[in-house]
């Protein structure tokens, strides 16, 4: 449903950040992008979200060319590494940010999905890292995007929590049946929850691997 065709990206022509990226993502699939620091993982997500413009190539979503569509019209959600919750809004207002009103039943449904119903009235600074992350997921899902992008969603969590949270996230994403791309540089994260893993090396796709054995 999401296809990246011959995507390249650079700030100046002498220094390519991403080169010849080709990728087909199927409905409901969870793709992990694995690569070392500086290999262009975040940049790739930014291109898909429309936060940066591709230099060369095309992005299609449900067969429609969205290469020149601005970010807010793409219908692609994103979860940032630092979660980027709005500090001046309560949890429920954060979750309802993309909706007409935070009283919309979707807000409650999403909070329930991430098990955060009782935190509605709190402000982000009153939440722990894992709680913030669940709110960020709820907020993105409430906008009902076609694709969800996650930039190192577990990097702010310590080892114990990390394991627990990533199972939870996988469950939430499966329940919501949403197509997602997750960036990580932790190989365990990738093998644990992804359907396919894209190995990124110096701005190019090195190889793509199916994950089967670890499922169930």
């Amino acid at each position: 449903m999401l296809s990246l065709k011959n995507i390249s990206f650079y700030y100046n022509k002498n220094q390519m950040i991403l080169q010849d990226i080709n990728l087909e993502v199927k409905q409901g699939e969870l793709i992990a992008i694995l690569g070392s620091s500086g290999s262009g993982k975040s940049t790739l997500l930014n291109l898909v979200a429309g936060l940066e413009k591709v230099s060369v190539g095309q992005i299609l979503l449900d067969q429609k060319d969205i290469t020149d569509v601005v970010c807010e019209k793409r219908n692609i959600g994103m979860i940032f590494q630092d979660y980027a919750l709005f500090p001046h809004l309560t949890v429920e207002k954060n979750v309802g940010f993309a909706l007409k009103s935070y009283k919309d039943p979707i807000v409650d449904a999403m909070l329930k999905l991430v098990k955060m119903e009782s935190f509605k009235k709190r402000y982000p600074y009153e939440l722990s890292g894992g709680e913030k992350q669940r709110v960020a997921i709820a907020r993105s899902l409430a906008a009902q995007p076609k694709v969800l992008l996650l930039d190192e969603p577990f990097s702010n969590l310590d080892a114990d929590l990390r394991y627990k949270v990533r199972k939870e996230v996988k469950e939430i994403l499966t329940q919501a049946n949403i197509t997602s791309i997750m960036v990580t540089h932790d190989i365990d994260d990738a093998y644990d929850i992804a359907d396919r893993i894209v190995f990124l090396k110096q701005g190019r796709i090195d190889r793509i691997e199916e994950v089967k054995a670890t499922k169930l």
Binding site: E72, M78, F80, F86, H88, A98, Y125, R139
Partner: protein, 546 residues
Amino acid sequence: MRLDGNSTQVLFLLMKKYSIIHIIGIVALILTCIPIIYLLLQAFRPTETVLSNQLLIAYIRNTIIMILVVGFSAGFLGLTLAWIISFYDFPFRRFFKVVLALPLAIPPYIAAVSYSDFMYVNGLFPRLLGTFGITKHFDIMNIHGAIFIYSITLYPYVYIACLSFFKYTSASFVENARVLKANWVKLFSKVGVPLARLPLVAGLTLVIMELVSDFGVIDYYGVQGFSTGIYKIWHNYSDFYGAIRLSAILLCIIFAVVYIESFLRRRLRYFTTSKSKSIKLIRVKNARYLLIYFTLTLIITFIIPLIQLVYNGIYAYEKIWNIKLLQVTLNTVYYTSIASFICVGISFVIANYVKGKKGIFAKTISKLATMGYSIPGVLVGLSVMFTFFDVDKLLVPLYRFIGIKQKVLVLSTSVFVFMFAYVVRFMAVSFNNINAGYKKINPNLFRASATLKQSTSQTFWRVDFPLMLPTLLMSFLLVFLEILKELPITLMLKPYKLETLTGFVHTYTHNEQYSEASIYSLVIILLGIITVSLIMLFREKKYVKS
């Protein structure tokens, strides 16, 4: 201008690339820069001038002496006070923390008048000495007096800069030194001074800017300086071009200061840390000398000028204390607020536009927006006046057409141009503040908003605006304070019929009606105290934690 197909297309492309509000902001900014450029272009016209080399040398010499001595004394006062308050615990600490910033509420020219009264024949100080059997009075209406006045009124710029910096400075830096069991003199000279280089540079730059652009003090004390020189050459000799040439030289000095500042700042940048960690204050066992230092500073910088004004004011109390005073006060608050509001508004739009942009255009725009503050009030007044004289001359046919018969100087004597000059001069104050505020907001918030289907303008109202509101209020207060204390622009451009506090202070002082002037001065200071207190309180509050 006729809009043919081609230019409509260009316009359309522009509209597509920039939002309307950004275009308005940028146009407004560019408008504010025109007068200065227009003025400077005149500097190259060859003409006769009354400006002699001797005079010029006197201006330069006096200015440099004042910069050096005031820089040292204001720097020393500001840094030591901020250092002690930031790292030591002693009785009345919180009280002093706020009141030591209060001299910021006193316009230097008012302190100058007040202190010369205080020290002169029959003044309070000679009389106090008299009770000890000493007969002596002091004439401080000279460069030494000016240096003293600048030091006591301008040191809070350094004080506040250091205070803010120490709050966000790495605690370990100080903790380490403390473990080494350094005594306080060592701690200050080995850690404090090197640590404070960055806020010292920032604070002293403000002090120097205020000093070279000040008009009131050197005017009243009869010191030869640039601001008064420019004003007199223009006002007394009608030598426009001499004034402009002198301005050009002054601008060279100022740009040198700005250049040195940005150079030093770049070199010192590695010192900044953004993590705020509360430091355990060092308890002072014997705080007597410390309290004497603080109390003396407070008395000299704040209480004495105030007492002298109150003392003077008593004689005119019944004559002045009436509904008229209230009207003038409200009028002043009203116009000062409007000008401050415009400054904040334009700055906000510009800061929003340049945020996250790295291109040449964005850089130029933000340079332009910070330019005004480095241009002395006299010069801003002169250039705005000069520009609008010419605009008025152009518009005479229009004035005749719409039925204005005699008058030629319609715009240049209007409230509009008066406000315009304030905006030119003080926009940089709000822009710098707002721009710094923007840098503190996590840029991912704006991007998150976009991924949540919010357009740029929706993001502006739902994210930028609420998060920036405290900064906007702070900027408003800062500009308000500056305009309140401003003198030369008011002198040159205030419409004759418009009554402001500053206008009255100047008129009464000019007519040597010091009692009457005192009461108006006191009202200005009172408004200033309210503003400074709000600023100091706001600094303490953390609006949102992220």
